[in-house]
Amino acid sequence: MVEGLAEQHSSRYVELGSRHNPEDNKGDHVTDIAFPALNATTLSQRDAIIAGLAACVSADCLITSEDERRAFETDALTAYRRMPLAVVLPRSTEEVAKVLRFCHENGVRVVPRGAGTSLAGGAIPQEDAVVIGVSKLNKILDVNYPDRTIRVQAGVTNLSITEAVMSQGFFYAPDPSSQLACTIAGNIAMNSGGAHCLKYGVTTNNVLGLRMVLIDGTIIDVGGDYLDSSGLDLLGVIIGSEGQLGIVTEATLRILRSSEGARPVLFGFDSSEEAGEAVAAILSAGIIPVAIEFMDKEAIHICEAFAKAGYPLDVGAMLIVEVEGSEAEMESQLAMIVDIARQHHVRVIKESRSALEAALIWKGRKSAFGATGRVADYICMDGTVPTSQLSYVLKRTGEIVASYGLRVANVFHAGDGNMHPLILYNVNDPLEQAKAEAAGNDILKLCVEVGGCLTGEHGVGIEKRDLMPVQFSASDLRQQMRVRAVFDPQWLLNPAKVFPLQGRDAA
């Protein structure tokens, strides 16, 4: 323990500017997502804290220089940047435990980090926080095909899990767009989804067990390689807790056997309304395709320019519907879906005739965020709405964004109503950024208004934190914060996230 630090750690706080690194950018933005006041004691004890961390891990696992720390100052919510005090990249659960025990004893805040692909700012640190990254915990530990499970260290990437079992015809189901980079630790923190969760569920439906380190350094195993828990479902509350309950270092996941075949088909419609109606009609006919993805005109053009996927450019909206099964099964399901699409005036139907064509269709969709990033800065909203409200919400989204004088591209998981409006703006224009954020907030309020929620799969992070009272009552939030406090009474783990900064004491 650092001498004298623990006793003082809650005593003094200082305010620094919040957006961007305060060292290089001071207050030139109109709106700001606030961060908690910095712990002055931690800041003043920086050298002693670094020395303490150095005693926990080997030198190559500790990052302290300004240049190297800069790589950890933001995630995929790049409009916000804050420099961490130090970064630790432990090589084992035991090292994570040592670091957390040290931080806990000294009242030092901790920000857990997977690959830093959070769109909600879930991994953005602060000057008084130690980032604990799981990138060196990247081994596949054990695959069990008869039991259809895989045990991995939490820093493995989402895609590498599927790659590890692909040769035997298996896959790991949740497939966020960032799956090439994002880690399973981050997926667990955010309860990530993906295009195929319409049929296979999200992260929480595909995790059987976890090894987690609590803030005081205690290592616990929750669940295992068997089904369902005895007693309270701790797994259920840990998954999606955005790094506020502990740091997950290992996970046992369900793997599934791939279907005999899969085929995405493109459907082009004149309008978003027609496409939206077609989605509702497909589902209510009792057909659950593996995925139903929606793109509006703006998104089609952006993705086609980037991926050359062969998307039709003369339609108002497009669906990618993927079916699975044997050749005959896919044929018969597609026949039903085509029939429904025709009733909704489909203009273009394009079936993939080869694995290459299928991959191209998905490449366009999966590169949507990256492709959009090439044409403009954007913020991506993530509200979910009842599928019957899709058309209305799309229409209102367009109106809201237009009223701020901005453009929007919509590309999302239509089958489960998980919207992803990408609001385009220029990050170097503070007024535009303020407008984009205001439009995003209006859209999320609309999602809640029609019976939906603020975030379907990206998480709350800092981005939607201050909107939480739109969806939840004060009592709802207090109960959640009480649960949070069970695991982390001092609010040291990822403290800037999820819960509005005001009203935390009430819990």
Binding site: I220, G325, G452, Q480
Partner: protein, 404 residues
């Protein structure tokens, strides 16, 4: 219900008919030294540790389907709504509860109507759990009254929702220890248009589980997989797999799966009513319904260890058993002696699984850990979680753990 089976003993009974009434009762409770035994229809009443409470709060008057959107495959109902009412309306719209509702009245020796709240609180899933997930995977929203009398909601009515901590999962299987469930929202699926079961005869446990793993690891979406050793339901051992799908898919998959399993023997088809009845009997634990004198355990482990676990237990004491969930769920009936086999069963799991004493006399359930005992770190977390919802320990005190 026989007195012996009752889990809670109480002085009085109340049946509030609104969430607000429950909230008011709970708010007044601490000052009146009040405690509550929460019940739905009482069909799962004999599960858990016996405990004393001042008042039984039965939620069976809190009924009604509050939202049903067949096109969106979502249903909300008040917690006291009978499952039979939900199943009826779903059947009219050709939809199902994906986790497969099972009826434990026969095995538990109870009567009455199971309620949605009771089902969620006891977290029971049927054979289809192996493919489509457990009840907790299909509960997407709850409302409840916590131990402070606050009305809390978590989750909602949409299919994907990661907004805030997922308290919904905590309420599933909490046995009413965290709050009074008042409303539950479920995710549904279209009813399968066709189904069929494939059976293999005469396999031993280990072979049967290998066969089931092979079937579940196939692309044919086996929706249930069980093994009934000789004498449990039939004279000879029967290993069964179920397909549920569109009719043309069923035809193709029946052939393909039969071929895949051909090395395990001749595949026999079970269709129509016979298939329905078979899975109903397995899901409802009917093999252990007749002899109510025996203790019944529900054991969860990885399928690849299941046959070994059973062999180890059977080495020490006589048991009857069968497997669901591809071997991962072991049902065990054994004599109600001093510990009903708790020591042997839990030792055989070697920490890799859990065993719940589902049925035994109240004396036994008082003396034996009904739920898998917790490590010290888990115990602390569970106790603090309990107190974060119910600081005055008003609800179902000690139903899960002696000290919580």
């Amino acid at each position: 219900m026989p007195r012996d089976l009752m889990t809670s003993s109480v002085d009085s009974v109340i049946s509030p008919s609104s969430e607000q009434e429950i909230s008011d009762l709970v708010r007044q409770a601490p000052s009146q030294q009040q405690t509550f035994a929460l019940t739905g229809g009482g069909t799962h009443q004999p599960i858990g540790r016996p405990f004393k409470a001042k008042t039984r709060m039965a939620i069976h008057d809190l009924t009604g389907i509050t939202l049903y959107e067949p096109r969106e495959m979502v249903l909300s109902a008040q917690a006291g709504t009978p499952l039979s009412a939900i199943e009826t309306i779903l059947a009219e719209h050709h939809q199902i509860l994906p986790f497969e509702y099972v009826d434990y009245r026969s095995v538990l020796g109870t009567t009455g109507e199971a309620t949605l709240g009771g089902l969620v609180a006891t977290h029971i899933s049927g054979p289809r759990r192996i493919r489509l997930g457990a009840l907790r995977d299909h509960v997407i929203g709850v409302r409840f009254v916590n131990g402070r009398g606050e009305i809390i909601k978590s989750g909602g009515r949409v299919m994907k929702n990661v907004t805030g901590l997922d308290l919904v999962k905590l309420m599933c299987g909490a046995y009413g220890t965290l709050g009074v469930l008042t409303e539950v929202t479920l995710k549904l699926l279209p009813a399968p248009k066709a189904f069929i079961s494939l059976a293999l005869d005469g396999l031993d446990d280990a072979q049967a589980i290998v066969a089931l793993s092979k079937a579940l690891g196939s692309p044919f979406e086996v929706s249930a997989a069980a093994h009934l050793p000789a004498g449990v339901m039939y004279n000879q051992a029967v290993t069964v797999m179920r397909l549920e799908n569109w009719p043309d898919a069923i035809a193709h998959r029946t052939t393909a799966l039969s071929q895949l399993c051909s090395s395990f023997g001749k595949v026999r088809l079970i269709e129509g009513e016979a298939s329905l009845n078979l899975w109903r009997a397995i899901g409802n634990v009917m093999p252990f319904a007749a002899d109510q004198q025996q203790a019944v355990w529900r054991v969860s482990t990885a399928p690849s260890r299941a046959a070994h676990v059973v062999r180890t237990i059977a080495h020490s004491r006589p048991i009857r058993h069968f497997y669901d969930w591809g071997g991962g769920l072991i049902w065990i009936a054994t004599a109600q002696d001093q510990d009903c086999g708790a020591g042997v069963i839990r030792a055989a799991l070697e920490g890799q699984g859990h065993a719940t004493l589902l049925r035994a006399s109240s004396e036994q359930r008082s003396a034996i850990d009904v739920f898998e005992p917790l490590s010290q770190a888990h115990h602390q977390l569970v106790e603090r979680l309990k107190l974060s919802f119910d600081p005055h320990r008003l609800f179902n005190p000690h139903i899960m753990y002696r000290t919580i």
